[in-house]
Structures are given as structure tokens and as C-alpha cells.
């Protein structure tokens, strides 16, 4: 990153003047924290006593046999407290908030996962907490709303725009410019104005550091390829950082192909042809936008990938061809999920399942001496409403109908 927060030509901090000072404080606190080895140790301590880091690297023996190619390993971020890699980022930012002395946090959430993680962190650290969530996402992920509220957070439905993640981000910024003195905005992914992309990636690098050591211990050498789904890009950046300096390791980011790239109903920014460079939500990256620069509606079965922008660091790595990008359609995702559940007893989040799709396509092309790692960013059982719905499960529907009637009396 250069001094203005750019990675190559991507990134920066396109922020309203009102936030300037707060970003100065954030940048200097982050810089201090990064240079203070005690801070990282404190971070490791809390992640190993409050969450269960290091998370395991699971050898997927049955999937490996099934595809008959590379050895498939799964990095188990689903086993984190609150069920996803989002915990890494929020706990890190929480420690920073403590350092900065702020008393309130806000966050946007798409899948609800980052909202739950933030509400959890706020409860643990005794901070006031407001979560912005697109109304459409709130309907997709109602259980998460319930838990956020139970954790003491206020969840505000965002009814503007496409009523999804990007609108929740805008709304969180609106809160921030209003309450800038008391409040820290816990951005949920490696996007947004600098220093967020770098900062979130730094906290998430814990994934890659562990995975790099684990694969050496378990497989004896680095993996041939590493797969991660890419929404904003934080889990991908997290695991990729363990292997970035080894060019022999191919890094593959998998975006939401939605109903198919050709249909326009997707969220593919770094693969596909619908995205172009732009500046929004405080940073420059590849956005799904029209010729006038208006953002487009995106689509994915996975709320957490359903986003118009992408980490500027990944945009840079894509341009430099250090990371290859692919996409997975909703249908492919449901199939990969089904297979993974049946063969390994593991339930990836819908987001994570995107990484599985591409890994499954490529595993047979590699040899048994090669290992590949899939980053399982989260667990799918939080997604029961989406997954059961997507599988069109009849007894689930019956159950919901019956429960609804009972409540409707």
C-alpha cells in the first residue's frame, strides 16, 4: 500500500471531509498496533481463548477419493466462534476500538454473519452497537437478526436502493459521519476506504499464517492451489496472505456467478465482463456499474457475496495475475454443498461453497502429490432458511407453514 492507501491503482480513501480526522486517528492507531508485537499477541490470545484458533485444517479424505486428483484440505473457519472468519476481523477491530477509547461500534451486514460477529464483539467488549442490514437481507437471514438483538445490538433495516449489502454500507457511513466522535465503523470486509482493506486483511492473515504451517505439517509441502470465495474479499485475503510470497502456489478467488455470468444476474467483478473501474463507498475498485457509473443490482444465492465492489487489494492482485478469478453459479453451489455434506459431514456456508465448486472442478486435473486448500469461510447451518429453501425441501416447508399457522392464531 502506498501512503494514500492505494494498491497499484486501486483503493484510496474517498471519504467526506467530516471523516478525515477520524481516519487519521484510525490510521495512526492501526499503524501503532501493527508495530506493537504485544498487540498481535493480545489478538492471538483472545482468538485462542474466546474463539478456537488455530482453526483446524481438515483432510477431506472422501472428497479426495471421489475426485481422484489432488489431496483436498479444508481450512475450517466455520469453527470460529459465531461460525465464520468474520470473527477474526471484528475481534481485531474491537481491540483497536478499545485502544482508541471509542464507546460505540456500528457495522453493515449482508449475510448477517458480520453483524452477528460485531454484535458479539460489542457484547464481549462492552460497546454500544448498531447494525445496518438491507431489508432484503434481513428477510433472508432472520435468525441472525434475532441473535444480534439478543446480544444487545440494535439492528436497523435499510430500505434504500437494492436493500442489500451496499445500501447497508452507505447507511453505516451516514451514521458514522453523524456520530464520528464516539463511534467506530467496524467494516466487515477488505473493502472501503484505506486503511480498512489493509487492516481487515491484516487481521484475517491469521488464517493464512495458520494454514501455511498446517499444510506443511500435514502434507509436507505447500499446496498447489488455494481456493477462497470472494465477496468483499476478506476471507480470500486472509488465506492468500499465507502463500502470496510463494509464486508456486496458485491462488484462486471464486466470485458469485449467480444465475450465470451471461444472465447479468451475478456478482462477478474480477472475472466476467460486466464490471469496470469505479469509485464508490470510499474506494476505487472494479464495480458492477452501468456506463454512467450507477451501481447495478447484483445477485447471488449467498447474501455475503452479493456485493457490487471488491477488495482493492484483490483488484490489484488480479491485475498482476497473482490471483486467478473464477465464478460459481447458484446451482453449482447447491450441488457442491450437497456433495460436501454427504461425503464429509461438513456444512459450508453458501458463500464458502463457491470456493468448493471451483476446487472440485480443478482437483481431478492435479495429481495425488498435490494438495489444494479450500477456505471454508463459514458454516452453513446459520443459513437454514436459505439452504432449505434453495433445496426446495418439502418437509421444511410443511414445518414452516405449520409453525406459521400456530403463531397466526
Amino acid at each position: 500500500m502506498n501512503k494514500d492507501g492505494f494498491f497499484g491503482k486501486w483503493g484510496g480513501a474517498f471519504i467526506p471531509e467530516i471523516l478525515h480526522e477520524t481516519f487519521e486517528q484510525l490510521k495512526s492507531s492501526f499503524k501503532e498496533a501493527k508495530e506493537d508485537p504485544d498487540f498481535w499477541q493480545q489478538y492471538l490470545d483472545i482468538m485462542s481463548t474466546y474463539s478456537c484458533r488455530p482453526t483446524p485444517l481438515t483432510f477431506a479424505e472422501n472428497l479426495t477419493r471421489h475426485f481422484g486428483g489432488a489431496k483436498i484440505y479444508i481450512k475450517r473457519e466455520d469453527l470460529n466462534h459465531t461460525g465464520a472468519h468474520k470473527a477474526n476481523n471484528v475481534m481485531g477491530q474491537g481491540l483497536l476500538v478499545k485502544r482508541m477509547g471509542k464507546k460505540r461500534v456500528i457495522a453493515e451486514t449482508g449475510a448477517g454473519q458480520h453483524g452477528v460477529a460485531t454484535a458479539t464483539m460489542a457484547a464481549k467488549f462492552g460497546l454500544e452497537c448498531t447494525i445496518y442490514m438491507g431489508e432484503v437481507d434481513m428477510l433472508r437471514q432472520r435468525p441472525n437478526v434475532f441473535w444480534m438483538e439478543k446480544m444487545g445490538a440494535t439492528v436497523v433495516p435499510v430500505k434504500d436502493g437494492s436493500k442489500t449489502l451496499k445500501d447497508a454500507i452507505n447507511e453505516a457511513f451516514r451514521d458514522w459521519v453523524t456520530n464520528v466522535d464516539s463511534t467506530h465503523y467496524v467494516l466487515g470486509t477488505a473493502c472501503g476506504p484505506a486503511p480498512f482493506p489493509e487492516m481487515v486483511s491484516w487481521f484475517q492473515s491469521i488464517i493464512g499464517t495458520e494454514a501455511q504451517q498446517q499444510i506443511l505439517a500435514q502434507h509436507g509441502k505447500p499446496p498447489a492451489r488455494v481456493y477462497a470465495c470472494v465477496g468483499g474479499g476478506s476471507n480470500a485475503m486472509g488465506i492468500f496472505q499465507g502463500f502470496l510470497d510463494n509464486n508456486a502456489v496458485e491462488l484462486v478467488g471464486v466470485e458469485a456467478g449467480g444465475k450465470g455470468i451471461a444472465t447479468g444476474h451475478h456478482a462477478a467483478r474480477l472475472c466476467g465482463v460486466d464490471a469496470s473501474p469505479g469509485v464508490a463507498q470510499g474506494y476505487k475498485t472494479m464495480f458492477l456499474q452501468n456506463d454512467d457509473g450507477q451501481m447495478l443490482e447484483t445477485h447471488s444465492v449467498a447474501a455475503g457475496l452479493d456485493y457490487v465492489g471488491v477488495s482493492p487489494i484483490l483488484a490489484d492482485l488480479a491485475e498482476k495475475k497473482r490471483v486467478r478469478f473464477a465464478s460459481a453459479t447458484d446451482d453449482e453451489v447447491m450441488q457442491a454443498l450437497d456433495l460436501t455434506m454427504r461425503m464429509e459431514g461438513i456444512i459450508p456456508a453458501l458463500e464458502s461453497a463457491h470456493g468448493f465448486v471451483q476446487a472440485f472442478k480443478e482437483a481431478p486435473l492435479l495429481g495425488p502429490d498435490d494438495a489444494i486448500i479450500i477456505n471454508q469461510s463459514g458454516r452453513g447451518d446459520k443459513d437454514i432458511f436459505t439452504i432449505a429453501h434453495a433445496f426446495n425441501d418439502p418437509s421444511w416447508k410443511e414445518f414452516i407453514i405449520a409453525r406459521g399457522k400456530e403463531y397466526d392464531k
Binding site: 480513501a13 467526506p16 471531509e17 478525515h20 477520524t22 436502493g161 451516514r174 459521519v177 457509473g293
Partner: protein, 254 residues
């Protein structure tokens, strides 16, 4: 004539200038025309025309909704540019574009400035483009003589104000408070101290915006600022009482 010069000329006649705000294409360009005519006829000194953007992150609910509705009706940047040219031709006050940086970035910065120049648009307010992020932009602004208007905020330090001042032209837009557009502000001692800091940091005219809604608000800043900015209030007015209500409203402000 340059924006600053125009404003200074007008300040010779008036204790305080008025700048108003409209969202282009909302509720329609036809209404925009009527509203602008009423504004000009009733003594408005400068109008900022917002080119709608899908992610208006610094705007509050009223303007946010106007942005979205305008886009839903099919408003394009080209429409806005043409409309800006039409208004500049028609009315003898300075017109500005307010929008977010992506609109300009996608349009092509140089092309945008060139088109603004030929449209007679005098300045640009881009709330998400701090000077550090817009090297080319600020050079082009100088080159094409379209004033890049920068914003001071209550959170801006003296150093920061000085730095912003270095890149600014036309006038300085002082945000009266934290937050987004469309909510009330207090013009109290804190505000006065802040405004004194603003004045000390720049020799450009200073406008005050965010939360100015009526005669009293305008009176409160008269003598302290050079221009009062009426933002969301006229949108609300048009929504509730139609374009004709704008003239009397403006007339009553000073």
C-alpha cells in the same frame, strides 16, 4: 467570469447570498426548470444541481430518495450535462454540479471538465473527493477554470483547513455540523467558534450549509458567512406544495 468573482460581485449588493440545491431529474427535468426559474426570479445567487448517483453516501433520506427516484425515471449524466448548459444559458447566475466522484470518473475526468466549461457550469462539489485523492481532478479544474469547491467540517483541524484551502476555488462550503444533509443544525457558540476558524483558514467566500431551513437560520449566519445553502428544504417543499411554493419561500428567507 470565475465563480469567486461572480459571488464577490453579488456580495457587494447583499449582506448574504443564497445558494439552493436541486436533484436533477427529480421529480422531473420539467419541474427542475420551474423550480430554478422561481429560485432565480426570487433572488437566489447560485444553484447546485445534483447529478444523481446510486450511492449518495453523504446525503440524508430526502436527497437519497430523490437520487433514487430520478435514476429510476432514467436520468442520465448526459441529460444532466445538457440541462446544466440550458440553465446556464437561460439564467444569469452561476450553476454548479454537485455529485459523487464516480460519476465524473466514469464520464472521464477531462471530458467532464471540458463539457462543464462549454456548458457554462462554474463549479463542482464532490463530497467524496478529498484533495489527496484527486490530483488530476484538481489540475483539470484549474486548467478548465471550473471551481473545485471543497468542504470544511467541524471536525477539520486548522491544518486541514489550510490544506483544503490550497486546493479549493470559488468558495468554501462549511458543513454546519456532523452528519448527512437534511437535518436541523444549531447555530450556537460552538458554531460561531467553528465559523471563525473557517474564516481564518481561507480568503475565499464561505458558504454554510446543512440544516438551513428558514428565515431565522439565514439570519443567524448573516454577517458571519457569505452564503447560506438551502438543501433538502426546497425538495421537501416541492414534494409537499409543488414548484410554485418555492418562489415565496425563497423570498421570505432574507
Amino acid at each position: 467570469m470565475l465563480l469567486e468573482k461572480i459571488l464577490r460581485n453579488r456580495l457587494e449588493q447583499k449582506k448574504i447570498l443564497l445558494m439552493t440545491h436541486i436533484v436533477l431529474g427529480y421529480p422531473s427535468f420539467a419541474t427542475n426548470r420551474q423550480v430554478i426559474a422561481q429560485m432565480v426570479d426570487n433572488g437566489v445567487d447560485c444553484i447546485e444541481m445534483q447529478i444523481p448517483f446510486s450511492e449518495p453516501m453523504a446525503d440524508g433520506p430526502v436527497i437519497l430518495k430523490a437520487n433514487q427516484d430520478s435514476l429510476a425515471l432514467g436520468t442520465t449524466v448526459a441529460d444532466c450535462m445538457a440541462f446544466g448548459a440550458e440553465m446556464s444559458r437561460l439564467h444569469d447566475i452561476p450553476f454548479l454540479f454537485m455529485t459523487y466522484y464516480n460519476i465524473i470518473f466514469k464520464y472521464g475526468e477531462e471530458r467532464f471538465f471540458r463539457d462543464c466549461l462549454s456548458a457554462g457550469v462554474k463549479g463542482l462539489i464532490i463530497p467524496d473527493l478529498p484533495p489527496e485523492m484527486g490530483e488530476a481532478f484538481f489540475q483539470l479544474a484549474t486548467q478548465f477554470q471550473v471551481a473545485p469547491i471543497l468542504i470544511f467540517a467541524p471536525t477539520s483541524t486548522d491544518e486541514r483547513m489550510a490544506k483544503l484551502n490550497n486546493s479549493a476555488a470559488g468558495f468554501i462550503y462549511c458543513a454546519a455540523r456532523r452528519g448527512v444533509t437534511g437535518k436541523k443544525s444549531e447555530f450556537d457558540d460552538d458554531f460561531n467558534a467553528y465559523l471563525a476558524r473557517c474564516r481564518a483558514a481561507t480568503s475565499l467566500p464561505i458558504a454554510v450549509g446543512f440544516g438551513i431551513r428558514n428565515h431565522n437560520d439565514v439570519a443567524a449566519i448573516t454577517g458571519k458567512a457569505d452564503m447560506a445553502v438551502i438543501g433538502s428544504e426546497t425538495i421537501r417543499l416541492v414534494e409537499e406544495q409543488g414548484a410554485e411554493a418555492v418562489g415565496p419561500f425563497i423570498k421570505g428567507l432574507r
